[in-house]
């Protein structure tokens, strides 16, 4: 273990002014937190998958088995699909906003009025 405070130093800021994306510094950092947590959930899911696979194969488990685990091609594919599905789920809102740009839709109140009168 090094004498360097590796936890603190891992998060060093890159030199250069950070762009203002969202127009609100609090929203900006809420997004940073959210995405970092989203990443950690993905990590937990992958770890759980490893545990399940090792238990399935060996019936027992040691922590070093988890560290040494290397998925074969089929397992790697299945795990990457799991992550892809997870990413698609958490980004659903953006994907649906994207789709709504393709559709010219009236507000529901207008449709409601239209249906009432026709």
């Amino acid at each position: 273990m090094t004498e360097i405070d590796w936890i603190a130093r891992a998060g060093t800021r890159a030199k250069g002014k950070r762009p203002d994306f969202l127009g609100d510094p609090i929203a900006e950092r809420m997004l940073s937190i959210l995405l970092a947590v989203a990443g950690e959930v993905s990590v937990l899911k992958e770890r759980l998958d490893t545990v399940e696979r090792l238990l399935e194969t060996n019936g027992t488990i040691r922590r070093e088995d988890i560290e040494a685990y290397t998925p074969d091609a089929d397992a790697a594919y299945a795990r990457s699909v799991l992550t892809k599905e997870y990413v698609a789920r958490i980004l659903r809102g953006m994907q649906q906003d994207m789709e709504s740009m393709q559709a010219a839709e009236k507000p529901l109140a207008d449709i409601s009025a239209d249906l009432r009168d026709s």
């Binding site: 090094t2 360097i4 890159a14 994306f21 940073s32 990443g39 993905s42 992958e46 990457s80």
Partner: protein, 399 residues
């Protein structure tokens, strides 16, 4: 249906110098590879939709004309909420990649530095020179949000910058560069074998080599060649030299040197002068100066070859230019935009490589495609990171 997904981080070759990831550290990169792919692929299309359905119509309504350049497109797009959120997500992914990589590297820095010492001590193939200053274009900001850039050290003499760079290339490119992140270098080998099957360069010079990942394949392809890899940053050279040694490649000399000042090399010394994804990290004055120096040290009949993302041209739609510019303004690539608008052919001509000796060719990363994905289709292209380049080259006229 078969899903298009990135390979696992465990497919990356853990050579002896490579920072060893824990299970969860690898999983973090797996998340980022998937996240980045989703952002550029599935959601990347949203930027164009926003542009076509509302940003461009609003611009026309306001200005009574179309945008004139990529900067006007950017200013207009930066007001669009969808694009702003997309950009914010992408920026965060870049920052997370750096945090993840630094975390992996710094917790094992003692081991990595000891290994580097083992591979580097007493070798004449590593020549560091503390008198080489960090160029202004490198000191201005930390390039692609990499804290400390290539020259940063956590303690004097360490390899943290190089190790972090090697560790995370996979996450940013989704594995397109292959097991050793050397798809660019492999592509150079494939290209020259096809172009000049009987040619054996005696001396090869790589400018801005960083960790040498793109020059190692050339050194392996030409084991009798004397290869020199220069960079201004000692930490990446220390790591790169150790990495090459760990891979059993001994014919590369890693030298700390500024490519603007290569007085140590006589005129016409090299048969091949190479840069790989380097020119965009320079500056308006240093780029032509470095190309001039490169031409000076290039032998008559020798090859100069620059691998880069495609240059902007009048034929390239402004929207594509704008998207290709994303890294310039959002990922600390301050010369990216200006560089891609330069007339490289004219600069090379002025440096002594006449236009009739020049060529431009497309090059794709070479990797084991049974494991690692090829560059995506144009509509899913991750501009700036796709492992598909344009090569701007020239054969120097014989004297």
């Amino acid at each position: 249906m078969k899903q298009d997904v990135p390979p696992p981080y465990t497919a990356v070759t853990q050579h002896a110098m490579f920072p060893k990831p824990s299970h969860d550290e690898a999983a973090r990169y797996n998340f980022l590879a998937n996240f980045n792919k989703h952002m550029s692929g599935t959601l990347g299309a949203g930027n164009k939709l926003a542009y076509e359905t509302r940003v461009l119509p609003a611009f026309r309504a306001e200005q009574g004309r179309d945008p004139q350049d990529r900067f006007e497109v950017r200013h207009a797009m930066n007001r669009d909420p969808w694009h702003r959120l997309w950009s914010a997500c992408r920026r965060n992914a870049m920052e997370m990649r750096q945090q993840n990589g630094r975390s992996i590297v710094l917790r094992q820095l003692d081991e990595l530095d000891a290994l580097a010492q083992h591979f580097n001590a007493g070798r004449d193939t590593l020549a560091l020179n503390p008198d080489v200053a960090v160029p202004r274009y490198q000191a201005a900001v930390d390039i692609h949000c990499m804290p400390g850039s290539y020259h940063g050290e956590e303690r004097p003499g360490d390899v943290s910058a190089g190790a972090n760079y090697d560790s995370g290339l996979f996450a940013t490119t989704g594995g397109q560069l292959g097991a050793l992140n050397d798809g660019g270098g492999q592509a150079l080998v494939e290209w020259i074998r096809r172009e000049r099957p009987d040619w054996s360069p005696r001396r090869i010079l790589d400018l801005g080599a960083t960790i040498g990942h793109n020059i190692v394949p050339l050194a392996q392809a030409f084991p009798d060649a004397e290869v020199i890899a220069i960079d201004t940053a000692a930490p990446v050279l220390r790591y790169g030299h150790a990495r090459a040694q760990a891979l059993g490649v001994h014919n590369i000399r890693f030298v700390q040197m500024d490519a603007e000042h290569m007085g140590a090399f006589p005129d016409g010394h090299f048969d091949w002068v190479q840069t790989t994804m380097y020119l965009h990290e320079l500056s308006g004055k240093s780029l032509p100066a470095i190309i001039r120096e490169g031409v000076r040290v290039l032998a008559p009949g020798g090859l100069m070859f620059h691998l880069e993302q495609p240059q902007y041209s009048d034929d390239m739609p402004l929207y594509e230019q704008f998207l290709r510019d994303w890294d310039a303004f959002n990922n600390n690539e301050p010369f990216w935009s200006a560089m891609h608008a330069l007339d490289l052919k004219q600069i090379m001509a002025e440096a002594g490589l006449p236009r009739d000796c020049q060529f431009v060719t497309g090059v794709r990363a070479v990797a084991d495609r049974s494991i690692f994905p090829d560059a995506p289709a144009p509509d899913e292209e991750d501009y700036g990171r796709t492992a598909k380049w344009n090569a701007y080259g020239a054969w120097k006229p014989a004297a």
